[in-house]
Symmetry: C2
C-alpha cells in the first residue's frame, strides 16, 4: 500500500513592519492542506488541486517545482503524488505560494524518514517560491517551515534564525480582495534610501528582536514601525491609513502591510484585543465597495505539520 500523509501548511506574514525582507511569522488558523503520497512509480505528479485554479504541470506549479528540486537532489527509489487543497488565495500577501512550496517538500521529507533539516527544506522550497515571485527568497518560507518568528539572516548561504514568540501575541488580518502585482509592489520601491531612515529601521529591528526575547509588549509596540517601505507601498492599498488608525485606536500594538500586500496585519496583546481590532477594521472596510476577509489567529509556533 502507498504511504501517504496529510499536512497543514500555514499562511505567513513577511516583513513585519521594520523587518523588510528578513522578518516573518507564522499564522495558525489560515493555511492550505495537502496530501503527499509515496508511490512505486518514480517521479512527481500533481493529482488534485482544489480551491484555486492552478497548473497541474509539475514544472509550472510552485509545489511541483520545489518537490522536483528536492527529488532530483535526493534521488529516492520511489515517486510522489501531490494533492493540493488550497485555502490561501494566491496574491493575498500572506504566503500562498510559500505554503504550497513548503508543503510538498515537508511532506516528502516526512515520508522519507526526515533526511533533511528545516534549513535544507527551505532551500528546496525556495526553488518553488522563485517560480511565483521571480526571485529566491525565504521571508515566508522560513516562518512556514520553522514556525513562530523567524529572521532570514541571509538567503545565500541560507541562514535562518528562530526567534522566541511571546505567548500572548495575537494577529488580526484583513485581506482586501484587490490584486497587487508583485512586479508593481517591487517597482514602487526606491533603490536608495536615506541613511537616517535606515538607522531608524535597524534600531527598530534590533529592538523588536530584543522585545521578542524579553516578552516586552510595550517595546514590541514601539518597534513595529516601518519608515522605509510603508510610505511607498501603502499607496497601493486603499484605506490603509484608516485601517491603521482604527486598529491602533482599538488597542493594537502595531499595524503594517503583510508581505507586499494587499493584506494588512495587526499584532495585539491577547485575543480579546485582537478581536476588538478585527471589529474596528471591519467597520472601515464595510464602508467601501471592496470585498474583504478578516481573520484572528494566534502566532503558530509549530509551523507546517502533519494532521490526521
Amino acid at each position: 500500500m502507498n504511504k501517504e500523509i496529510r499536512i497543514f501548511s500555514p499562511a505567513t506574514v513577511a516583513n513585519v513592519a521594520c523587518g523588510f525582507d528578513v522578518l516573518g511569522f507564522c499564522l495558525d488558523t489560515i493555511g492550505d492542506e495537502m496530501v503527499i503520497r509515496q508511490t512505486e512509480q518514480k517521479g512527481i505528479k500533481i493529482t488534485v488541486i482544489e480551491g484555486y485554479d492552478l497548473p497541474f504541470e509539475v514544472e509550472q506549479n510552485v509545489a511541483g517545482v520545489s518537490a522536483l528540486a528536492m527529488y532530483n537532489s535526493l534521488q529516492p527509489d520511489c515517486g510522489f503524488e501531490i494533492e493540493i487543497y488550497k485555502n490561501i488565495k494566491p496574491g493575498s500577501g500572506i504566503g500562498s505560494s510559500s505554503a504550497s512550496a513548503a508543503g510538498s517538500v515537508f511532506g516528502m521529507n516526512e515520508l522519507l524518514g526526515k533526511p533533511l533539516n528545516k534549513t535544507q527544506l527551505t532551500h528546496f522550497a525556495m526553488k518553488g517560491e522563485a517560480l511565483a515571485s521571480k526571485c529566491e527568497h525565504a521571508d515566508n518560507l522560513a516562518p512556514a517551515i520553522f514556525g513562530g518568528f523567524t529572521l532570514v539572516k541571509s538567503a545565500s548561504p541560507l541562514q535562518i534564525l528562530q526567534l522566541p514568540t511571546p505567548s500572548d501575541l495575537f494577529v488580526t488580518l484583513i485581506h482586501p480582495q484587490i490584486e497587487i502585482k508583485t512586479s508593481e509592489s517591487r517597482a514602487i520601491l526606491p533603490k536608495e534610501i536615506l541613511l537616517q531612515n535606515a538607522i531608524i529601521q535597524w534600531a527598530n529591528v534590533g529592538s523588536l528582536v530584543h522585545a521578542l526575547h524579553t516578552s516586552n509588549y510595550d517595546l514590541i509596540k514601539d518597534a513595529l514601525c516601518d519608515v522605509v517601505i510603508e510610505p511607498y507601498r501603502k499607496q497601493l492599498i486603499p484605506h490603509f491609513d484608516d485601517v491603521k488608525n482604527a486598529a491602533m485606536k482599538a488597542g493594537a500594538l502595531g499595524c503594517a502591510i503583510s508581505g507586499s500586500g494587499p493584506s494588512i496585519f495587526m499584532l495585539s496583546k491577547g485575543e480579546d484585543i485582537a478581536k476588538s481590532v478585527q471589529k474596528a477594521i471591519k467597520t472601515v472596510y464595510a464602508k467601501t465597495n471592496i470585498a474583504f476577509e478578516t481573520y484572528v489567529s494566534k502566532i503558530n509556533t509549530e509551523g507546517i505539520k502533519t494532521i490526521l
Copy 2:
C-alpha cells in the same frame, strides 16, 4: 565636611560594526577617574584637570556642561566641584567626551541620593556630549552609564535598551595616534544608501541582538559586519584592512571601526584569543611609523561606578 566620591568612568565602543548610531558596549580596563565633591557654595566648578589639556570654564567643558544641565534642572541646595583625571585621549574614538559627560552627572546623582535613573542621567550627559560632537547622541553614553551592550532605540524621546553580554566576550583595541576630525568622518558618509545594503545591515543588527541573547558566538561572528559605513570611513584609518585581516586570522569574531575612529576594535571568544589578536595587530602597526596603543578588556557589564 564636604562629601565626595571618586568614580571610574569607562571608555566605550559605539556603532559595533552593523549597529551604526545605535549599538555600543562598555570597556573595563580603560577609563577616566573623576572626583565629585558636594560643596556648600552653590554652582559647578572644575578644580582639577589632569592627563589632557581641557578647558576649566564650566560652559566650555563637556563634564561641566552636562553637570550644569542637571544642576539647573534639579536646583539642589548645594554646589559641586569636579576633578577630572583623564586617561582616555580626546579624539581616540572610544568615548572620551562621553566618559567626562557621564562622570559628572553620575557622581552628582550618587551624592544627592540617586534622584535620577540611568536614562535621565543619559539625558543630561547628552548635553555635554553635544558640546564635543555638535549633536546630542547617546551611542557612547548609553554603554558608559548602563554597562554591557546597549541599543539606543531612539534619541528623542530617549529610549535605551540594555542587551545581555555573553560572559566569554573580550575586546581587543588598537588606537593609532592619528587625528580624525568628527566633521570629516561625518562628511565622508553618504546621505543615501542602497536599500539592498540597508537590508543586509538590519538583518545583521537583528542577528547580533539574537546572538547576544543566546550567547551564540558563531552568530556574533556572522553578524559583526558593516556594509554601509566601513567602506567609507576605513579610508581615514591607515592599514585598516591589514589590521582586520590579521585580527580575523588570529581568531577574532569580528573587527570594525570604534565609533568614528581612528580606534579599531575586535571581539573574541575568551581572553587568550583576544591576546593573540592583540599580538597580531601589533605586528601590523609595528611596521608603520604611526604611534599606537593596544588594549585587551573584558566587556564591562557594570558601567560607570564608584571606586575607593
